[in-house]
């Protein structure tokens, strides 16, 4: 496989023009990845993770709008692509998996109808029998027992985990190059979550599909992703290879996040937390969005921090990065 990135997002800005002001939900976000790579997009609620996903697919609803930037998918800019061409990419080359499996399947249509429809929407020459066979294979691929029986079921006859598997199977139907998974395991219990993660990882390895896994759960990303991008206030504050970032976080926010995860050697102690609350996107401070909660903040943080690469393979946005590896995480 070539080294050209499957997806290359450059300086993406998506703003929401509300009556209360402009909310910069995604502000100058850049990342890229190769075929078969899994990127974890991590951040707390309202940090712009999901909007980034929607912006890639061109599905930002008014009052939101992609203001500038490029989303290069195999060299083509999705933001300038005609609507009809973009529609053919959706569900075909780029698929999306949503958070709540209870809501993403049409309640009145049988699973086979919904799956066959997805195939036929992109290739009307496929016969119904072939489409059904592909649907059955996809259900088998995500570990659904007795796919033949299940094809004829309605969504309400499935449990939550099974429904999410169906949703993933539908995303896989056309063998996409890229899957955008928007917190797909958040609504599931932990055992099901583990199974889904396992299946997702296996699929990426086997089919060379790239995946953006949007989540707020660092533990999920740790086991799944190859690379990680941490978002805060609409910007990516730190990105790099998963183990590097988790073992040696450089940005104070990433350190804070990791410090809030309970671990074995902190048992019995008070859990560390980042002070304050996530800022409103309508009212971000000048310069670094994290300055109000950052232990290292000073006057230099009032100016917009540029993207720097203090360690090779790592990009961060901070004027006071933690470069000394011995500093205690969370301090």
């Amino acid at each position: 496989m070539s080294d050209a990135p499957t997806l290359d997002v450059r300086n993406l800005k998506t703003h929401f023009f509300t009556k209360a002001g402009v909310a910069k939900a995604v502000d100058d976000v850049s990342f890229s990845f190769k075929a078969g790579e899994v990127v974890g997009l991590v951040g707390e609620s309202g940090s712009g993770k999901s909007v980034t996903g929607f912006s890639i697919l061109g599905l930002v609803d008014p009052p939101g709008r992609v203001v500038s930037g490029q989303v290069l998918f195999k060299g083509k800019d999705l933001l300038t692509l005609p609507k009809e061409d973009l529609r053919h990419l959706r569900g075909n080359r780029i698929a999306m998996i949503f958070q709540d499996p209870m809501m993403t399947l049409n309640p009145v249509l049988r699973v086979d109808t919904q799956m066959v429809e997805t195939i036929k929407a992109h290739d009307s020459n496929v016969s119904k029998a072939d489409a059904l066979a592909r649907a059955r294979d996809a259900l088998g691929q995500v570990g659904i027992p007795a796919p033949d029986e299940r094809l004829r079921s309605y969504p309400h006859q499935f449990s939550g985990g099974m429904r999410q598997r169906v949703a993933i199977a539908i995303a896989l139907l056309n063998k996409p190059d890229l899957i955008i998974a928007d917190e797909p395991t958040t609504a599931l219990d932990v055992t099901i979550q583990g199974q889904i993660l396992f299946e997702a990882q296996k699929l990426c390895r086997e089919t060379g599909t790239s995946m953006i896994w949007i989540t707020h759960d660092l533990a999920v990303v740790a086991g799944l992703a190859d690379r990680i991008s941490v978002m805060y206030g609409g910007r990516i504050v730190e990105q790099g290879a998963i183990n590097d970032v988790l073992d040696h976080p450089v940005h104070p926010y990433t350190r804070g996040l990791l410090g809030s995860v309970p671990g074995h050697n902190t048992r019995g102690q008070r859990l560390h937390q980042i002070p304050g609350m996530a800022p409103s996107l309508l009212n971000l401070p000048q310069g670094c969005a994290f300055q109000a909660r950052c232990p290292k903040a000073d006057d230099a943080c009032h100016t917009e921090p540029a993207i720097t690469e203090p360690v090779s393979g790592r990009a961060i946005r901070c004027v006071h990065p933690h470069l000394n590896a011995d500093e205690e995480i969370g301090a």
Partner: protein, 303 residues
């Protein structure tokens, strides 16, 4: 493999929606009675030529000497007129059977067409939103601010007489109700995630509208459909009674009532009275069925 499937715990036997719907519907005795009456009426309308005692439009068999006979009279040929005869000597019961056929036919036909037209327009308004929505809904508002009978009268005056013209007029009067109903529920459904997911799957707008959005808007549509069909029947009867509806060659219940109206004051009540009762029973039974449908299909009233 297929043997183990039957014991899959996830596939516990579920009550199908249709089954639940039927058992909910049969909860009300009144609704069941109304449904039975409605089925009888539909049966009569469908098979009027076979079950009518006489053919009221066979001029060779109708005698003017049998005119205005009271109910229960026997004709010179020995035929019993259970509900009497009208001014021209036609058997009223047979005329009513045929009239029911025409009334129901026109009502249901215009109801179905209005449903298709109105719900498509309502779906488009809800799905595209913005200016399209505003334009369509203002037209609906304007139309609904006029009384239905007035709009229908104006349309008939413009279009002229005839069965097709009456159906067109009824459709033009009624599409707005369907459009408004469908738009309302489609606006709720539109924001649900499965539609967003459908967009993400790259389905085209036509598929999303009619395959995904419409079936989820059906429950309120069914209710409005029944009530509006009853409304269409009574509107057609009103137009025919006023003499601007169906032509005299297609005598609906409304025309029969109009026919007997001139004899009302001379004590020959039956010529208007019985078609009126038939119309009343038809409309009341459709409305009762519609009411029960509304209760069954309303998620807020679900037990």
């Amino acid at each position: 493999m297929s043997e183990t499937v039957k014991h899959d715990p996830n596939l516990a036997p579920v009550e199908t929606p249709l089954h639940r719907f039927m058992s909910d519907f049969s909860d009300s005795m009144i609704a069941m009675a109304a449904l039975a009456v409605l089925l009888v009426i539909v049966f009569i309308a469908l098979f009027a030529p076979f079950i009518s005692p006489t053919d009221p439009y066979d001029l060779a068999k109708v005698s003017i000497f049998d005119g205005k006979l009271p109910p229960g009279s026997v004709s010179m040929d020995g035929v019993t007129f259970w509900l009497g005869t009208d001014g021209a000597g036609r058997d009223l019961l047979s005329s009513m059977f045929y009239g029911l056929r025409i009334s129901l036919g026109v009502g249901v036909m215009s109801g179905v067409i209005a449903l298709c037209v109105g719900s498509s327009i309502g779906l488009i308004a809800a799905y595209y939103g913005g200016r399209v929505d505003t334009l369509i809904m203002r037209i609906v508002d304007i139309q609904l601010s006029f009384p239905a009978i007035l709009v229908a009268l104006i349309l008939i005056a413009a279009l002229g007489k005839g069965v097709d013209k009456v159906i067109i007029a009824l459709v033009l009067v009624q599409w707005a109700y369907y459009a408004r109903t469908v738009r309302g529920s489609a606006l709720v459904e539109r924001n649900k995630e499965y539609l967003e997911a459908a967009t993400c799957l790259g389905l085209d707008n036509k598929r999303i509208l009619f395959r995904h959005l419409l079936p989820n808007c059906l429950p309120p549509l069914i209710v409005v459909g029944t009530v509006q069909t009853a409304h269409a029947i009574s509107l057609e009867a009103t137009l025919s009674f006023l003499g601007v509806g169906l032509p005299i060659t297609e005598p609906s219940l409304g025309l029969l009532i109009a026919n007997g109206f001139e004899y009302m004051m001379s004590g020959r009540y039956w010529i208007s009275f019985f078609p009126g009762i038939a119309l009343l029973i038809t409309i009341v039974s459709i409305n009762l069925v519609g009411d029960q449908l509304r209760d069954v299909l309303n998620p807020r009233l679900q037990k």
